[in-house]
């Protein structure tokens, strides 16, 4: 593999990692507050559809982005009402959201656009366009650094940079602010927060809504950044991979970055190398494409160390006497 191929693989790893990273951080906020969320997938899908549809109709990617965030936040509000207000089962609520999104997106897309459940292809204005960082052209000629800068660092859309900036930001919020302290506390022992005179319900709703907003950005990126429009089931399990990455990352922001980059790399390799010959054996492309999912299963089965989830995770909070 020459240097340029390596750069290209890494470059597409970054782009493929972005939706995972956003969804993973989204899940981090929710689960750190003690609300398990397996509905990341459904929220992303709904956001992808809303972003694709509104961007196509309005011709503006920003309208699409806002619509995506809005759609995802409505679903997270649903999850919040079911699991916080009515103390329902968080897994069931999440599954319901996934099913709802899978069906409704295609149904509405067909009703609105009659293109077989997809949204119209987006033109340039409807898409997230790459930003060329300053000096990208100037540094081009410098060996190693130049191409790395212009290929890998520069030339991504705004959301990519935002997603990466959210890693240190999330860390800072979690460990350096009052909100972060309370968020972590409510996921570990909500009674401690309640007896300290802080509303458990308000905190958890805030967390769930942040989760919705980030999932919305992730979904909008799929429809307007990675591809040009919404197609049926376009999330393709990314919500679940993000969930696996979250467990792999032990619910910590920096680990989440590395976990998502790893999954991004696996996806990029599968896209780039349709079949690899190793010691005379040809690895079929199907296996390559299955790799991220195989890793997901391995992680979820608990082979990669012991991950201790937030202690109050999945438990509705009921005041005890």
């Amino acid at each position: 593999m020459d240097f340029l191929t390596l750069l290209q693989v890494l470059d597409s790893s970054v782009r493929l990692a972005v939706p995972l990273l956003l969804a993973c951080l989204a899940g981090l906020y929710s689960e750190r507050a003690g609300i398990f969320d397996i509905g990341l997938e459904g929220k992303m899908l709904a956001a992808a559809f809303a972003a694709g549809a509104f961007a196509a109709v309005s011709g503006s990617v920003w309208v699409g982005l806002l619509a995506g965030i809005g759609a995802s936040m409505i679903l997270s509000l649903l999850h919040g009402v079911a699991s916080i207000t009515f103390r329902g089962n968080q897994l069931i609520s999440g599954v319901a959201i996934n099913m709802l999104a899978a069906g409704m997106t295609v149904l509405i897309a067909q009703d609105w656009f009659q293109q077989g459940g997809r949204t119209p292809s987006l033109l340039t204005e409807g898409r997230l366009n790459p930003i060329n960082l300053p000096f990208a052209d100037m540094f081009e000629s410098i060996p190693l650094f130049g191409p790395t800068y212009s290929e890998l660092v520069s030339g991504h859309s705004l959301i990519v940079y935002v997603a990466f900036a959210f890693v240190p930001l999330t860390w800072w919020i979690l460990y350096r602010t009052r909100f972060g302290l309370r968020l972590r506390a409510v996921g570990e022992n909500p009674a401690s927060v309640d007896t300290a005179g802080v509303s458990v319900i308000r905190l958890r709703f805030t967390a769930v809504l942040i989760c919705g907003a980030l999932c919305g950005v992730a979904g909008a990126y799929l429809a307007t950044g990675l591809q040009a429009g919404f197609i049926k089931d376009m999330t393709a399990g990314r919500g679940f991979i993000a969930l696996a990455a979250l467990i792999f990352a032990k619910w910590r922001p920096w680990y989440a970055l590395w976990a998502c980059l790893l999954f991004g790399l696996l996806q990029a390799l599968a896209v780039r190398f349709q079949s690899i010959e190793l010691a005379g054996i040809v690895i079929p492309v199907q296996l390559m494409e299955a790799l991220p999912f195989i890793l997901t299963v391995v992680i979820l089965a608990g082979f990669v160390g012991r991950a201790i989830p937030p202690r109050a995770g999945g438990e509705p909070y009921v005041k005890e006497r």
């Binding site: 909100f179 302290l181 401690s192 005179g197 006497r321």
Partner: protein, 515 residues
Amino acid sequence: MAAPAASTPLALELKGISKAFGPVQANKDISISVRPGTIHGIIGENGAGKSTLMSILYGFYKADSGEIYIRGQKTNIPDSQAAIAAGIGMVFQHFKLVENFTVLENIILGAEDGALLRPSLAKARKTLKTLAEEYELNVDPDAMIEDLSVGHQQRVEILKALYRQADILILDEPTGVLTPAEADQLFRILDRLRKEGKTIILITHKLREIMEYTDTVSVMRRGQMTATVQTKDTSPEGLAELMVGRKVLLQVDKEPAKPGDEILKIEGLRVVDEAGVERVKGIDLTVRAGEIVGIAGVAGNGQSELLEVLGGFQDATGSVTVNGQELPLSGHGADGQARRAAGIAHVPEDRQKEGLIMEFSAWENSVFGYHHEPEYQNGILMDNKGILAKAADQMERFDVRPPHPHLAAKNFSGGNQQKIVVAREIERNPDVLLIGQPTRGVDIGAIEFIHQQIVNLRDQGKAILLVSVELEEVLSLADRVAVMFDGQIMGERNASETDEKELGLLMAGVTGETS
């Protein structure tokens, strides 16, 4: 009225507080006055309404009627925030701490000064230092809660309240989880707080604590405040009578034991838990016919694991024999059924999780573990009629109230649930009775009855192994006491030749024999 006009207002005054949960009247027209700078005890049986009353004070529940006055001011307490603002601090029986946070983080949680943590943490560190000097409340501010002893965790709870400038401190059953030495320390701290002018409300069911440390005591019974008296004018017997409504025997009435042959023999018993931690580190113990051997110790020092092994739901290595028969300690034959067949009956520590199925009725619960036995079968069906009749008879004889076999287990009070379990296990006429925390959450009246049943069984020549975190109970009920600490037996004493002080040291891991 003859009472002189007080120069300082009462710290706390409740007037006619009532609270009902559906048809259950948890608090009925409760009035109480607490003078500032005193320790005011509130004593009552389980379900007497103490916790409900305190939850109302801390804003967890809203009273149906009644008024709360704090320092003479009428105060509304709709939520915990308001309680904190009114200067009320609460130390719950189950601590409300975040286990994987540091002491400092727990202290500032909810009382931060701004959106950023750093200044709050710095301020808390300073305040903590002053508080530590003022009240001898030393805790490492950077320690993780999960690494602290229970006694220190409790100090963090007290510090939390003081950091929020509480001057009325409510403690709910604070000594339930402490060693006697830790409890003494706690009361020294409380005494110090009282001297500094803080008001302390101590909720407990332990008569000794009330007698030794409080200035005034209020007694609750069935949701009502039955009396408020000066502690120095009362006696344990008097308080017990006020709590239960009749004369109660506080001492266990028993003859000296006449031990016979060795029935249960434990040698080199070791238990390693799922996380790989050795919980029981090589125990040797024998229980003879006609004696009660009590295991004393602070919760979590391997007593539970010991009971689980003997009861057949925890694997172990070593040797356990009953009447000379070796019992398998893991794999096939190491289960509850096999243990019962070997003559071991078990009243587990947690009756609600291990002793009963709460949703099932009393008669069904009365045969669990023995339900496969031929006498309960009728062909391929169960002989429900027969079981029901036996259960009704059992409940009558064991004074279960109400004696309705069709009532679900969850609808009985703690004491009556325990009687259902004790009845089931004793009725099978076992050679060995394992009994864990026989009177946890059981009211004084029922304690007397259950203790009497255990002594009767002993006098029939059975071997009884008693595990209890209540040192008083072990001392008064057992003939021989073994103290467990950190998975080991620190020493064995005859109950008649030892006292709380000596056992307390052993419970803290201090053996006097080396010096």
